[in-house]
């Protein structure tokens, strides 16, 4: 009797699962692998309706995590959003499909001013998506005497309430900039110096963290965080006590690009998605929502002046000169991995 009841429960559960499955079958599916909170979700809904498809999104928190997942047999994504240096690594590995320009007519809007940030200015296998920079997000009321310097991480009075990104190129890069070096250096002495700086900072931070700092800042769990400009500004929308500064020593700039992997299941839909995100209205709406700049010339005039004049979105020339784009260093990437390991292991 009881067994029969248990079996009927299993039957009901199975029926529920199957019904839930059926209602969504039939439509083509676009698998997207993106940074978290890096697209206005409503726009995805518009795309789904326009193309009669379903978009399934998975998220990652650093280029390295994304690459590892895709390499580990996590193929089957149609569109991915790596930063330029990762685009060149993936291209070098033969993982990317060439962009069919005829299917992306909106390429004509790409701002030539920003193609210098990418490794693929001709959009041969990648299309620029957003321009971002990293800096320091903080709580104005709790850190009133904030300085626009990476040296903030030496402030022991904030110990246990700060975070650095869990991203070797960004965090070692911040220390290199702090010391006045290039964040693409391969000089062993400079790297060793940067390592010691991060190890010193590590004593003051709560965590190496590239995602949770947003909730942490918003809820005052963390008082000062190393983060990306748009991410911090999204938090500002919710908590106006949050501020963002770009350290005067300079920082990293990135062009995050859209690519289609060779094993994409739905390349046509992928091209359509890329083209859609460069529709001027869509690009403007997306920028206004996620606070990253989409390098799309036709979208600028649809944006509020407030966004275009924001010095953390469009950097002033003087600061821009001190900033750098993270480059792929080929075999020498190893050096960063090694330094990162030493940092993580240090007591």
């Amino acid at each position: 009797m009881q067994i029969r009841r248990a079996l009927s429960l299993v039957g009901v559960l199975a029926a529920v699962a199957i019904m839930a499955g059926c209602s969504r079958a039939g439509k083509p599916v676009l698998h997207v692998f993106n940074w978290s909170d890096y697209i206005k979700e409503d726009l995805v809904k518009v795309f789904e309706e326009k193309y009669g498809c379903r978009v399934v999104m998975d998220f990652y928190d650093s280029n390295e995590t994304m690459y590892a997942k895709v390499k580990a047999g996590g193929g089957g994504y149609d569109v991915i959003f790596p930063s330029s240096y990762m685009v060149s690594i993936m291209h070098g590995e033969g993982m990317l499909m060439p962009i069919d320009r005829s299917k992306v007519p909106n390429l004509k809007y790409i701002d030539p001013d920003y193609t210098r940030f990418t490794m693929d200015p001709g959009s041969d296998h990648s299309v620029p998506y957003m321009i971002s920079n990293s800096g320091i997000g903080y709580l104005k009321s709790r850190v009133p005497e904030v300085k626009s310097s990476w040296g903030m991480f030496d402030d022991a009075s904030l110990a246990g309430r700060m975070t650095l990104m869990n991203d070797m190129r960004e965090t070692i890069g911040a220390a290199l900039k702090f010391l006045g070096y290039s964040l693409n250096t391969t000089n062993d002495f400079e790297l060793a110096e940067a390592r010691d700086v991060v190890i010193r900072w590590k004593k003051n931070i709560a965590k190496f963290e590239s995602e949770q700092y947003r909730n942490g800042l918003a809820s005052a769990e963390f008082l000062l965080c190393h983060g990306y400009n748009g991410d911090v500004m999204q938090v500002m929308e919710e908590n106006d006590d949050v501020g963002y500064v770009i350290p005067e020593e300079g920082t990293s700039l990135a062009s995050d690009d859209m690519v289609i992997p060779k094993d994409a299941r739905n390349p046509d839909l992928a091209h359509a998605f890329i083209n859609f995100l460069h529709e001027p209205e869509v690009a403007a709406e997306n920028t206004a929502y996620i606070f990253y700049l989409c390098p799309n010339t036709a979208s600028y005039k649809l944006l509020d002046a407030e966004v275009l004049e924001d010095p953390t979105v469009v950097l002033p020339e003087a600061l821009l000169a001190k900033c750098e784009v993270i480059r792929d260093l080929g075999e020498l990437n190893e050096k960063y991995t090694k330094v990162w390991d030493e940092i993580k292991a240090a007591q």
Binding site: Q2, V10, F33, F59, G73, Y77, N215, S219
Partner: protein, 262 residues
């Protein structure tokens, strides 16, 4: 003076320790303020947000599909294994026992890691299928152990009697052994189902595009989600758990020790 003050104090403290965090979650799920710590008035808005989040329901569906298949397959494999272990002796069963027992003591991360390497090596595309295969692998051992424990109390004379009355192997199995074993198999299946629904680490290693299960979804929400929605989800899952535990209590009486990990 049979029960001292010390055990009673410790027990009370432990229970408070168990339930305090859970209580905080439940209260916060009804808190209108986005961040715990201040009270923003009673509100059901997080539940509304939860029900409108399609991703959670898709991952819940994935979880259910995986758990049902893993439960059914591991019930069959595990019961057969338990019968073999109980009835037969010799080198084959010694090896078989070691093989069934070892997965129980291997940390999740090792199983996830080795299965990931295996799937990558044979170039299997990661997704729902690989998650299901992985879940069956760890569920088989649990089912086998629970059924085996049940077989210990089994009166072999019943089988002898059935044979004496002229029943064949298959008839004896179907008419005598299986009905008597059913509560054990059901307990094993329930344990397998729970473990599968709750597994995060192994699934995380072998998951592929769009194959997020509920725990994977919860993990990603903890990292970059809306915290009160997780509170609401937790509360619902908690209610579900209590319902399941309560119905097991009804279904299987008091024999919980059987379903605890060996």
């Amino acid at each position: 003076m049979r029960r001292g003050l010390f055990p009673r104090t410790v027990t009370a403290l432990c229970l408070a320790f168990f339930y305090l965090p859970i209580l905080v979650l439940v209260i916060n799920s009804l808190n209108g303020s986005r961040y715990g710590g201040r009270w923003g008035g009673l509100s059901l808005k997080w539940y509304r947000l939860l029900f409108s989040d399609e991703r959670i329901w898709l991952s819940a569906r994935n979880t259910l599909i995986v758990a049902l298949i893993a439960t059914v397959v591991s019930m069959v494999l595990g019961t057969a294994a338990a019968l073999a272990l109980h009835r037969h002796r010799g080198r084959l069963q010694d090896a078989h026992y070691a093989l069934v027992f070892t997965p129980l003591v291997v940390p999740d991360i090792l199983m996830g890691m080795s299965l990931l390497l295996f799937f990558v090596t044979i170039a299997a595309p990661l997704g729902i299928v690989t998650i299901t295969l992985a879940h069956i692998t760890f569920c088989v051992s649990y089912v086998a152990m629970v059924v085996l424990a049940r077989l210990q109390d089994f009166d072999d004379a019943l089988i002898e009697a059935a044979h004496d009355l002229g029943a064949g192997h298959w008839t004896t199995f179907r008419r005598v052994v299986l009905p008597l074993l059913m509560p054990g198999i059901a307990a094993g299946g329930l344990l397998a189902f729970t473990l599968s629904v709750d597994d995060f680490v192994i699934s995380f290693f072998v998951a592929g595009p769009g194959s997020s299960t509920l725990p994977i979804q919860v993990y990603s929400m903890i990292r970059h989600g809306n915290p009160p929605v997780i509170n609401a989800l937790s509360t619902l899952l908690l209610i579900l758990t209590v319902a399941v535990v309560w119905s097991c209590e009804k279904l299987m009486g008091r024999n919980y020790a059987d379903s605890s990990r060996t």
